[in-house]
């Protein structure tokens, strides 16, 4: 079904803008049913014994399809094996915007839950009428209602009476928690048998009759153009060219790869614009600030200018520190891919995009097609961790398909292109100044966040486009640059506001855009990584200045019982922050945050070792405590939290995009190393269930606390504070040297 809302309404939901008051309660209870209230849009009983659940949220490896099946099975009182979660497709599943920001459970989970709860009641009413008993007298089990004298009728017979034709506007009662059979226990992930055993599961595994295979040839630097003619064929491959977009298409992927290598040697690229080599330097970033926003109640306000810095005169002690985070790669293990079929009038695309609705509109705009003529089916991809090359690959495939009408085109990026052309996780600088009163409490907090932009996703634009290849066409489509994010806890100010009670507070976001070819966009946890890393490091610096224990210092600055509970649980799991005596190269540290100051609470304690001789960090243990509200699927939650920890540990210890004159100078896994199996610590996680609190996603919640905990453990182990990510040996050695 199509969205009934204006573009703005959909965007507001997709960007996670928080409504307040009654509207907020309604949204919490109904999720995306607020935008899509028609019950029949969410579920159907297509045949005897089967239930189809439709969602606009896509599988990214977070297990959403399984979580939705659990929810639907519980509220419908059927076995999860009866549930099919339909693939998200423009025009036939509810348009729920992007699958991002750990919002799937909150938006789609709530909607599916309520849709199923209503459907259960409507089916029960039909059963009561048919069997001539009161609804209360019916017992449901796995799709069958039974009366006390043994008469039965199945959901599927009842559903055959016709569609519900029902608008959900208010919540229905849910199955009582005490009777839950699946929620809180979980079931095996539905998508993993095919994926783990290597059966076809991902976009590049799709095979259609007559399919051809394509590779794109990217310019050596952004904006470089092809001024000379290209051959029409290379060996058995055809060359597709539009302006400076050039691709090869062949009967097999192997031939396409080989043809791309041969054609690359023949291409004569001219011009283009190099990257600013110092783009991650605080001084460069400060020189390219476009605007500044005070952050008030989590929102970036573009009204009045930010207030003046707080004056810290009366305080016993004023501390200042600056923390930096480099550009990062999403670094999917499977390069971006798409399949496209153009029949002259309409375009069908199979993509692992996080927002098939927006992608379809953006594709239509670039190709000059009617928006209704483009259909995008979601098909799983390798993990993307935010806005990577998925959408760009879809345009690439569509351009080749337009030149090869009637032929399905399977296109995939080469590894080097994934590394060099995906949007980067933005560099950030966080300056913190706080005053410590004589009572050992923080009495003021002044925070200045300098950030590149975090959302260059392909939202349909009034003019221009955000899809990579569109800027190289003849004539080129103008590049639509990312806009600053002002919403609640969005972009660079995500978790920019400390969760602690710290007296007078001023938080300012300074938005950087240098008009260079640099492209930054959403990467897992957005600004929360840099902000929580900075805040948690600085809390330890303040605790140490106050002569206080870091745990007691944090607990002394928060009265939120859920925050206190995860901090205490993680510390207890670890057996405290004391390191075993006698090893002075070992340290322990704590990191904590509530994601977006409104979602999952996570505290992490890390123990690491860093011998002075090598200055190389070895992670030994991690103890994690998490509270994500009501637990739907404990195993899925653990997987997300541990995965978030491991990925953030990799960012923290290893990762940095080095910029060369032609763009990122990393083009493979040797030049951009990530954490490996032998570097993984033991991880112990404790989940705190809150059956009375709404379930929230947790895919990003452990990232910031992981970085904070590692930073604090490093400081304890070495006695020096490293404030610039990543903590590679050279950075640690430099900190040692500065100490001498």
């Amino acid at each position: 079904m199509d969205s009934a809302l204006t573009e703005d309404g959909v965007l507001a939901a997709a960007d996670g803008r928080r409504a307040i008051g009654d509207e907020s309660t309604r949204r919490r209870l109904l999720g995306s049913l607020v935008e899509h209230p028609l019950l029949d849009a969410w579920l159907a009983f297509p045949e005897e014994g089967r239930v189809t659940v439709r969602t606009g949220k896509v599988e990214l490896g977070q297990g959403i399809r399984t979580a939705l099946a659990i929810i639907a099975a519980e509220e419908l009182v059927v076995s999860p094996a009866r549930i099919d979660v339909a693939r998200t497709t423009t025009g036939s599943t509810p348009d729920e915007g992007f699958t991002a920001g750990s919002r799937s459970i909150e938006q789609s989970g709530a909607a599916v839950r309520q849709a199923c709860a209503h459907a259960y009641r409507l089916l029960r009413d039909r059963a009561a009428a048919r069997l001539e008993v009161s609804a209360d007298a019916l017992v449901a089990d796995d799709g069958v209602f039974t009366t006390s004298n043994g008469d039965t009728v199945s959901y599927f017979e009842l559903a055959a009476e016709g569609p519900f034709d029902y608008l959900v506007t208010a919540p229905a009662p849910l199955q009582p928690a005490a009777e839950h059979r699946f929620i809180g226990r979980g079931i095996p992930r539905l998508d993993l048998p095919a994926k783990i055993s290597g059966a076809p599961a991902y976009v590049p595994d799709l095979r259609l009759p007559g399919m051809r295979f394509a590779r794109v040839l990217r310019p050596p630097r952004p904006g470089a153009t092809l001024e000379t003619a290209t051959p029409a064929t290379v060996g058995s491959a055809d060359v597709v060219r539009d302006g400076s977009f050039v691709a090869v298409v062949a009967g097999s992927e192997g031939e396409a790869e080989e043809a791309a290598e041969r054609l690359a040697a023949l291409l004569d690229w001219r011009g283009g614009m190099g990257f600013p080599l110092d783009a991650a330097d605080p001084s460069y970033m400060a020189a390219h600030v476009v605007s500044s926003y005070p952050i008030i109640d989590g929102l970036a306000s573009d009204g009045p200018a930010p207030p003046d810095p707080i004056s810290h005169d009366d305080a016993a002690l004023v501390l200042h520190s600056r923390f930096t985070k480099p550009f990062l790669l999403h670094g999917s293990i499977g390069p971006s891919a798409a399949v496209a079929l153009h029949d002259g009038a309409s375009l069908t695309v199979w993509s692992h995009s996080q927002g098939v609705g927006f992608l379809g509109k953006s594709l239509a705009d670039v190709l000059g097609l009617d928006r209704g003529a483009v259909t995008v089916h979601h098909l799983d991809g390798a993990g993307c961790y935010g806005h990577n090359g998925a959408d760009d690959a879809a345009l690439d495939a569509a351009l080749v398909a337009r030149a090869c009408q009637g032929q399905p085109i399977s296109l995939r990026w080469a590894r080097a292109d994934e590394h060099r052309f995906e949007p980067l996780g933005p560099a950030m600088v966080v300056d913190l100044t706080a005053s410590l009163g004589r009572d050992g409490r923080v009495s003021s907090w002044d925070e200045d966040i300098l950030t590149y932009r975090h959302n260059a996703r392909p939202l349909p634009q009034a003019t221009g486009s955000r899809l990579l290849a569109s800027w190289s066409l003849d004539p080129p489509v103008e590049r639509s640059r990312a806009a600053p994010m002002l919403d609640f806890e969005a972009g660079g100010h995500r978790n920019g506001t400390p969760h602690y009670e710290l007296g007078a507070m001023r938080v300012v976001k300074r938005d950087v855009d240098d008009a260079s070819p640099l492209r930054t966009s959403a990467m897992r946890s957005l600004g929360a990584l840099a902000n929580v890393f900075a805040i948690e490091s600085f809390m330890d610096e303040l605790a140490s200045a106050a002569g206080a224990d870091p745990v007691a210092f944090r607990l002394g600055h928060t009265s939120d019982p859920r925050a206190r509970a995860v901090i205490e649980a993680a510390v207890e799991l670890a057996g405290g922050l004391e390191v075993p005596a006698g090893d002075d190269s070992v340290g322990r540290g704590l990191g904590f945050a509530q994601y977006e100051n409104s979602m999952a609470y996570v505290a992490v304690v890390v123990e690491l070792e860093v011998p002075a001789r090598t200055a190389q960090i070895t992670l030994r243990h991690a103890w994690i405590a998490a509270d994500a509200g009501e637990i739907i699927d404990p195993d899925g939650l653990l997987n997300q939290i541990e995965g978030g920890f491991v990925q953030a540990a990799s960012w923290t210890i290893k990762e940095k995009v080095e910029l060369g004159p032609d763009g990122p100078s990393c083009s493979d896994w040797d030049s951009y190393p990530i954490l490996r199996f032998s570097e993984i610590p033991s991880i112990h996680t404790k989940l705190i269930d809150r059956p009375d609190c709404p379930p929230v996603g947790a895919g990003e919640a452990s990232c910031g606390p992981a970085a904070g905990a590692i930073a604090n453990a490093l400081a304890q182990a070495t006695g020096v504070r490293v404030r610039d990510l990543p903590f590679r040996p050279e950075a640690i050695r430099a900190a040692f040297d500065a100490l001498d």
Binding site: G198, S252, S332, G381, L638, G643, V646, D668, P681, K686
Partner: protein, 167 residues
């Protein structure tokens, strides 16, 4: 024209000797378990066995494996060890996106056929594989159950590292 022996089938293919084995397996033979990740022998996603030894199929030329037995996960998963490894991974939901898993499963099955293998050696072998989702702790727990089923008896059950924590 190299003749490939893949999973006990003989394939007389019209391909060049220089073609990476990965593409012959995917394009010509229609297998989906070997994945393209890097094409550079850096990530392990394309791993298969040739003569019973793990190789990166993205950097192995068809001409060099002509006449030698190639085994992919499609065949390996049907062995006793394949069953044990795949079931172990599935029971533990030991994946997020799952893209790295077929290659990792090939390595674990290959090692399981060679038991006993010290756990440290298993971890070293897994270092040939990259996983971006952070599924390592779970994969390591599955591996420990397969290769080190009684870690306390081995005296190192409580040592640091290698994802051996339980949740």
């Amino acid at each position: 024209m190299p003749v490939l022996y893949v999973n006990d089938g003989e394939h007389d293919l019209e391909i060049g000797s220089n073609l990476p084995l990965l593409w012959a397996l995917r394009d010509q033979i229609g297998l989906s378990s070997p994945k393209y990740g890097c094409g550079l022998e850096q990530c392990g996603a394309c791993r298969v066995l040739v003569d019973g030894v793990p190789v990166a199929s993205c950097r192995t030329r068809c001409g060099d494996v002509a006449g030698r037995p190639v085994a992919t996960l499609e065949a390996l998963r049907a062995t006793a060890e394949g069953h044990e490894v795949i079931e172990g991974l599935l029971r533990a939901n030991a994946a997020q996106c799952g893209y790295c898993l077929p290659g990792i499963a090939v390595t674990l099955i290959w090692l399981a056929m060679r038991r006993p293998v010290p756990f440290d050696e298993v971890v070293r072998a897994l270092d040939d594989h990259l996983c971006r989702c952070g599924s390592h702790p779970r994969i390591l727990r599955v591996a420990r159950r397969i290769f080190d089923p009684d870690p306390d008896a081995a005296g190192d059950g409580s040592r640091a590292g290698h994802g051996n924590g339980e949740t």
